[in-house]
């Protein structure tokens, strides 16, 4: 009988190559999360015990022992974070892009072209992440990093709650073992323990959400976009599993920032959306990404991208992916839409400011 590990790795029927890759990714994500969890608990416990023991007379934690524990716990957090970063890098960038970046291949920087336009049109924004040269079509767009910041936020909340809960549990344990009869810290620990469990789950969910569907790449035949002109879009979806639904939409948002009492609020509203592509049941393998092309046109007479201090008009290509057993994943690609009528070249414009 073959050992379970060889069965797991070799049996194509039981576990396909893509599934193995996916499980490897999930295992790394879970392992990394557990390492961070244990590291944070250990760190909080060490700091709490050291603080408690230095205040009392027992002195059961010496300074060298405390430093050793500090280093070990921080190393666990560091390794966990490193594994998360590696995991994120593998899903956020394609093999080609990783290779290109590693070999420091020169990427085409569209910002140089856009910079001149920006000087002429200061209210038309440029991409926050500059498009680069495409492999199939002219330009490659890059997804917004909003989801990544969501993960960083979840990690911070997770570390804070787990650290506080661990510290309170240690203090309570200390009081119980010394029979002090004061269990207020124990009562305080309960909500923090609940919050710690919730934040750990939330962090893990965010991590799996980002890693469940592999990198999505979008290329466009020409850029920036002009209303009324037809463009070809190349969608490339690599990953590790069967995607139940892939939905691509062109969306225009209006975003307004305003004061409400003492708060500053931002409201965002979709004012136009057009489905560009939709397909169910896509099998994506680690060896061959799913690729398709479709047309896109920003309607003639549409408002161009606009950005002022408190008001924005944004165009985006949004991709929704649904993998089995995972929450819906949204990836957003910013499109800069130029005014459809630029008029003549602004040669002697500066002189026009003179009064007649």
């Amino acid at each position: 009988m073959r050992p379970w590990s060889s069965w797991l790795l070799s049996s194509q029927k039981a576990l396909s190559r893509s599934k193995r890759g996916w499980w490897a990714g999930v295992t790394i994500a879970v392992l990394a999360s557990l390492l961070i969890l244990v590291g944070v608990v250990w760190l909080a416990a060490s700091v709490t015990l050291f603080t408690v023991s230095s205040g009392g007379e027992s002195g059961y934690m010496t300074v060298p022992f405390f430093i050793l524990q500090l280093l070990l716990s921080m190393a666990m957090i560091g390794i966990g974070t490193y594994l998360v970063m590696i995991s994120m890098w593998k899903v956020s960038a394609s093999v080609e892009r990783r290779g290109a970046l590693i070999s420091q291949a020169t990427e085409f920087d569209l910002l140089k072209d856009l910079r001149g336009l920006r000087e002429q049109m200061p209210t038309v924004p440029t991409n926050s992440i500059a498009p680069t040269q495409g492999l199939v079509l002219g330009y490659r767009l890059h997804a917004s990093r909003r989801n990544l910041w969501g993960l960083v936020g979840a990690a911070i909340v997770f570390v804070v709650f787990v650290g506080l809960a661990a510290a309170l549990v240690i203090v309570t344990y200390n009081k119980v073992s010394l029979q002090l009869g004061d269990y207020s810290s124990g009562a305080l620990a309960i909500p923090f323990l609940i919050a710690a469990v919730w934040s750990f789950g939330y962090f893990l969910r965010q991590l799996l959400k980002l890693t469940s569907i592999g990198p999505t790449e979008l290329e466009i035949s020409d850029y920036p976009v002009v209303p009324g002109k037809e463009y070809q879009i190349q969608l490339s979806q690599s990953g590790r599993l069967r995607i139940q639904l892939l939905d691509v939409t062109l969306v225009c948002y209006e975003e307004a920032t305003f004061k409400q009492g003492t708060n500053i609020r931002t409201e965002k509203k979709a004012v136009y959306s057009q489905r560009l592509f939709r397909r169910r049941g896509i099998n994506v393998d680690t060896n061959s990404s799913f690729q398709t092309q479709f047309d896109m046109m920003v309607p003639e007479g549409a408002m161009h991208s606009f950005n002022s201090d408190s008001n924005r008009v944004q165009w985006k290509i949004e991709i929704y992916g649904q993998a089995k057993g995972f929450p819906r994943v949204r990836r957003s690609f910013e499109l800069i839409v130029m005014p459809h009528d630029l008029g003549p070249e602004p040669t002697s414009r500066l002189r026009s400011h003179e009064k007649v």
Binding site: M121, E267, H304, F306, N311, D341, G343, P346
Partner: protein, 133 residues
């Protein structure tokens, strides 16, 4: 006490302009009364109107400092500017972008009189269609 009135006119009388078009106009101050005008400012501006805080951009600005001779008040004052490539006039759901010629008179006692004449830059549709996709 009567207050001065400002009358703004655009020479070609059209209200929709393309980028690069020359906006030519003039303004006249009527009924000056007995008040003194310290300064006159004429500008071509865009502004946002709607749910968000109001943003504004100045494309053309001219300030004339007084005091002005009483018999010079009624003289038409001309202005001209080549319109820029953006932002286009827009009537969205939460955001409106409007272009205007604004003339402001600074009177004595720190009071002001302002008049605006709106025009459109670019030909942007207000409504693109439904959101059904």
């Amino acid at each position: 006490m009567s207050r001065p009135r400002i009358q703004i006119n655009l020479t070609d009388e059209k209200r929709v302009y393309r980028p690069g078009d020359v906006l030519v106009g003039q303004y006249v101050i009527d009924n000056p009364g007995e008040q003194r005008i310290h300064a006159i400012e004429a500008s071509v501006i865009w502004m946002t109107v709607g749910k968000g805080e109001e943003d504004m951009g100045v494309h053309f600005f001219d300030r004339q400092k007084g005091p002005f001779e009483v018999n010079h008040w009624n003289l038409p004052r001309k202005f001209s500017t080549v319109l820029p490539r953006s932002p286009f006039s827009y009537d969205g759901m939460m955001i409106r972008v409007r272009w205007a010629v604004r003339v402001r008179l600074f009177l004595e006692a720190e009071s002001e009189v302002t008049e605006e004449l709106f025009f459109r830059l670019g030909n942007v549709d207000s409504i693109l269609g439904d959101l059904s996709g």
